[in-house]
């Protein structure tokens, strides 16, 4: 059995829409993710990228289908899947260091233990502090450890949020448009930063973004989610599907010049056409699902799960 940390089988999600009807957001998503992959999910606005991420996180359950982690259905967010949001990842009442230490404390202490048994906790806390400082050093924030989040710039805040999630050493790190609110320069620096982190320990990362260039540059596998397609009989699409699932293999460490190569631009053009162009409706059988883990569509068998 291959080492698939995440398996999604025929997952659909519907929300109540206007006029009391249900609106299908995701339709029959099949996805398998191997340990150590850096998966980026990209797609047009409102295609359900974040919904898919929330299904994996466990803060939402699918209407149909299954979302499994290591073969066990995901029911609630837990410590095995860390998350970095675009905003609100840090607790503004804690300093950066305390934010990073928070997970360790929550995991090891029971509710009011620091109040009841301070002598015992102080020793542990020293250990947590050391561990937190290691991660802060890794993200280059050690000298800002005693600042509050409101005293940091947007990029620094996201680096702190990444340290806060990584200190728990989760099996998977989920990121929901983490750099969406940053300016262009900071954003590129953060992309390089995240790649550097990934190069060090090949943490499994699932990264949602609406920025196509970012998705192609940063990932080892690009998944395009879109509702701009048509069923094979020509009827209109119902909910977003994975319309493209391809490996990308830029070198590591990855210079940002990669973005100017011909292959990079060709991939960008094809994704823009197949995923982001509302007038170009691909048939399901024509989806480019060339990644080794992708489920492919067979006209006779339906979705084939290898």
């Amino acid at each position: 059995m291959p080492d698939h940390v995440i398996r999604i089988e025929e997952a659909s999600q519907r929300y109540p829409g206007s006029e009391g009807q249900m609106r299908t957001v995701l339709n029959g998503i099949n996805l398998r993710i191997t340990r150590g992959e850096f998966v980026t999910i990209v797609g047009p606005t409102g295609c359900g990228k974040s919904t898919l991420l929330r299904l994996i996180l466990g803060s939402e359950r699918p209407a149909d289908g299954k979302v499994l982690m290591n073969g066990v259905e995901i029911r609630e967010p837990d410590r095995n899947r860390g998350i970095v949001f675009q905003r609100y990842s840090l607790y503004e009442n804690r300093t950066v260091r305390k934010n990073v230490m928070l997970g360790l404390e929550l995991e090891r202490f029971f509710l009011f233990e620091p109040c009841f048994r301070p002598w015992r906790c102080r020793e542990k806390q020293r250990e947590f502090r050391e561990k937190a400082d290691n991660y802060l050093e890794r993200v280059g924030l050690l000298e800002h450890a005693d600042k509050y989040p409101h005293q940091l710039s947007g990029g620094m805040r996201q680096r702190a949020a990444i340290a806060q999630a990584m200190v728990m050493q989760p099996e998977i790190l989920l990121m929901d448009e983490p750099f969406g609110a940053l300016d262009v320069g900071t954003r590129e620096a953060m992309q390089v930063f995240v790649l550097e982190q990934w190069r060090q320990d090949h943490q499994t990362i699932i990264f949602v973004t609406h920025d196509l260039e970012e998705a192609i540059f940063i990932g080892s596998r690009v998944i395009v989610l879109s509702h701009y397609y048509s069923e094979d009989d020509g009827s209109p699409a119902k909910g977003a599907r994975i319309v493209k699932d391809v490996p990308v293999a830029w070198p590591l460490p990855r210079p940002t010049e990669v973005k100017h190569t011909r292959e990079f631009n060709e991939l960008m053009i094809s994704i823009r056409r197949e995923g982001l162009d509302p007038t170009y409706l691909q048939h399901i059988r024509d989806f480019d699902l060339s990644h080794a883990d992708a489920a492919w569509w067979d006209t006779k068998l339906g979705w084939e799960k290898q």
């Binding site: 996180l57 803060s59 609630e76 967010p77 837990d78 410590r79 899947r81 860390g82 998350i83 949001f85 905003r87 609100y88 990842s89 607790y91 503004e92 009442n93 928070l102 997970g103 929550l106 995991e107 509710l111 009011f112 509050y148 989040p149 409101h150 005293q151 806060q164 999630a165 728990m168 989760p170």
Partner: protein, 268 residues
């Protein structure tokens, strides 16, 4: 006219003097009135002179009365005690609101009820409180709690509801239990804000305190004012009013300093 410009920049002298000006005007106006009235009728009781006020304050604060008690001290202790117990109950209100906001079942069970309860004018049920709890301390504290606690509960509730959902989800990924989310994530985040609401409601606490004391008590700042009213003892009433205001001001200042010192991240 500079006075009517929204972007006026007052100078140093103006920023020093202008805030004091209304105080000075009030004091001078009072003193002139007292002067005039005492010239017409040296036995005037309605507007005692400054000297009489000081004398009245001295008699209440420093000299012992017939029972050998220092009245102001006794009254202040009695009122402060009721005030403190009332405020302690308000902190209980924080916990109630917090649970209502975060536990959906508690929300369903209590939210409507508290919303309705909040609308009952506490003073209107004061007779009921006196009948049920008697004329002792319990009814006076119950009045404070009935009058102010629903506000605190609802304020806490709304603030806890306003915490971004992401922060709760994030806490779950950091291995927080559901109780830890309530007490270690949400409570510390909203606490200074709720403290500020309590500060703003201290005025209401004093209001209910004095209302309760005025009807039935044997000591207390509000009690004293209403007792000496029978003798039109303005030389006692006015120092008492100023004393109560000073205490209220200090309580307010104390909470503001507390928030500023311990929660530097608030409002940033």
């Amino acid at each position: 006219m500079r006075l009517f410009k929204v972007n006026a920049q007052p100078g140093k002298a103006a920023s020093r003097i202008l805030p004091l000006l209304p105080f000075i005007i009030c004091i001078i106006a009072y003193m002139i009135t007292a002067q005039i009235r005492h010239q017409e009728n040296p036995k005037d009781k309605l507007v005692p002179t400054g000297k009489q006020l000081v004398d009245g304050f001295r008699r209440s604060a420093i000299e012992a009365d017939r029972k050998g008690e220092h009245r102001l001290l006794v009254d202040t202790i009695a009122s402060t005690r009721r005030f403190a117990i009332g405020v302690a109950f308000l902190f209980l209100g924080i916990l109630i609101g917090l649970h209502m906001a975060l536990l959906p079942y508690a929300d369903l069970l209590f939210y409507r009820f508290i919303l309705f309860f909040d609308k009952i004018p506490a003073l209107a049920v004061l007779p009921i409180l006196f009948i049920v709890f008697g004329l002792g301390e319990v009814s006076k504290i119950a009045l404070i709690v009935m009058g102010v606690m629903p506000t605190i509960i609802l304020d806490t509730y709304l603030r806890a509801k306003a915490i971004p959902r992401e922060q709760v989800t994030k806490a779950l990924t950091l291995d927080a239990s559901h109780l830890e989310i309530i007490y270690r994530i949400v409570l510390p985040r909203i606490f200074p804000k709720v403290l500020d609401t309590i500060r703003l409601n201290l005025k209401a606490v004093f209001l209910f305190l004095i209302a309760g004391e005025s009807l039935a008590a044997t000591a207390g700042l509000g009690y004293r004012i209403f007792v000496v009213r029978r003798y039109v003892a303005m030389d006692i009433i006015i120092p008492y009013v100023l004393w109560i205001s000073l205490l209220a001001f200090l309580a307010d200042l104390g909470v503001r300093v507390w928030i500023k010192k311990w929660y530097p991240w608030v409002d940033k």
